[in-house]
Amino acid sequence: MSVFRTTIPEHADDEPLIQLVAPDGTRTPHEELDAAVAHLTGEDLRRYYRDMVMIRAADLEATSLQRQGQLGLWASALGQEAAQIGAGHAARTQDYLVPTYREHGIAWARGIEPWRLLDVWRGIAHGSYDPYELRTHPYMLVLGAQVPQAVGYAMGLQRDGLVGTGDLESDTAVLTLFGDGSSSEGEVSEGFTFAASFQAPTVFFTQNNQWAISVPATVQSRVPLAQRSRGWGIPSVRIDGNDVLAVYGAVRLALDAAREGEGPSYIEAVTYRMAAHTTSDDPTRYRARAEEEEWAAKDPIDRLRRYLEAQDEVDEEFVRRCEEEGHDLAMALHHEIHAMADPDPIEIFSHVYADPHPLVEAERAEFERYRSQFEDAGDQAASESAEEGRR
């Protein structure tokens, strides 16, 4: 018997997994989460279904566009639609969302069309949508770095008197999203520390998609991720991330508690990255086909359809219409990306600083001088060629 105490479980599943809708579409009651989703109507759920179909269609099209050379890279969120659409809709309009780079469903739920995400992947810009207008922070490629920033934003909300007033229409919270890989980053831990110390209204939401590129979550953590935050005194829950109802309910509860001044909480949404990490990755090298098939049977879109069919909330016509709209969205994406012009390289020098900076100004001028030589040369060649034509 050791003086040291630990609670490392033998199996990850020793930590309960909350699920409201099973893969076959049957509904499991859960008192607390049921209350959090009770206000959702059939129309709401049909919307979430459509959203998941739409974002998957856009995702597949983006992968295809990368294969066609239109995108430098794409990080697919296939399989994670329920985690993202559920979390995105659970947030209230005023909440600030701080994602990583795979949160296309979050963006969709916030009203950001998929093509507005593509400038990053196409290499046109590092981001373009207005984070304040859409209450959604730009995508983050340095894993975990956004987490303390999300906590800082939440500390700002506290100072602005937007927490715990009892007015759900104005009280605000922050939802920050990151993957199981990011959760190993030190900055996530520091984010936990600051959020716990200041009881900042932050909800940490991990989509545990099982793989950090080729490294499985089991190598990342000896305990289920949901247990990690408890060492900071941050309450947590492990939910089925492929169950849009469970995700919605848990995120809604956590955000409402945060905005009411009850401090941070942590959600592990257990899901699966059905595609590769990015289009540069080859998952056949490190994971088994059987595992992918096992997760395909837990698909979030099929699951919600089965549930809604059992409730008589959808019919074949609705399902078919969603598919068509998904196809139309994919086509729109295709056209939008082909219409995207490369920026003028002079934009390299734009927005480096808020106020003028003499070195940037000097280098911009030098770039223009250098470039003008070729423009002059080009003009001269054109006029010589015209001269030639006249002869």
Binding site: H126, Q149, G152, M155, G156, R159, E190, H351, Y353, P358
Partner: protein, 327 residues
Amino acid sequence: MSTVKLPIAKAITAGLRDAMRADEKVMLMGEDIGLLGGVFRVTDGLHAEFGGDRVVDTPLGEAGIVGTGIGLCYRGYRPVVEIQFDGFVFPAFNQITTQLAKMHYRTRGQVRVPMVIRIPYGGGIGAVEHHSESPEALFAHTAGLRIVTPSNAQDGYWMTREAIESDDPVIVFEPKKQYWIKGDVDTDVRPATGMHSAKIVRPGSDATLLAWGPSVSVAREAAEAATEDGLDLEVIDARSISPFDVPTVVESVKRTGRLVIVHEAPVFGAIGGEVAARVSEQCFFHLEAPVLRVGGYHTPYPPARMEEAYLPDLDRVLDAVDRSLAY
């Protein structure tokens, strides 16, 4: 009477206090800065005046301090964060270089991060390791950051004010060895030259000594000592590391024909080399000698009993001046 005599540390305190009084969005964050007033007491008294929400004692975590500060900027706050010692900034290096420096750029100007990072830096206080470093070049290499370093009380006050007012992130490297050196501070009249201008602190004609932060006083002492040999050395306080006021240095070198750069950071890969390259480009036909640099060696900062040999002092500066004049 607006001019008072203050040590640099207290001039910075006054700058922080006046900035906080002028703008309620200005807040301070860092380890031990509240009730203790900071390990160097630079924030002394501010917790009592402004309270714990504006003078925040944070948990010990530099990435967390800078990271949450960035998040507060998103809400319109202007956090001034303290990194307790130079060598402890590196846990926050990621937040500073990949986040703070680039957020304005990557959002095409939609997001501003008007944060100030105060870092007591430099050696000569007999400290243990990681407490005496001069990492300015590591940050100057990253576009998006502004970097200044006061060498006197007046700059301690006004650079603090100007850094806080800047809409860009600013790192203020404070010469900790000289925190208690007093000087005149006029808190009413803003200096005509902004925080990014170099300043000729001693005019001269035989050679130019360029220094910043704690090395300015060394350069001045060397210039005074050189008068005994009949030498008239010009001394420039660079004041700003990024942007660097190269034109002021170039004008000086065109007059004197010689440049010796003095800083505490290790010479290899440091800012002195950058300035030397630019001066060579722009003063090629005016230079009577190669640009020489005096600074730290390519070693980790040594244990305190050896730092006297490591740091550029009056004799090493004069030795470089002699070598320059020998050409």
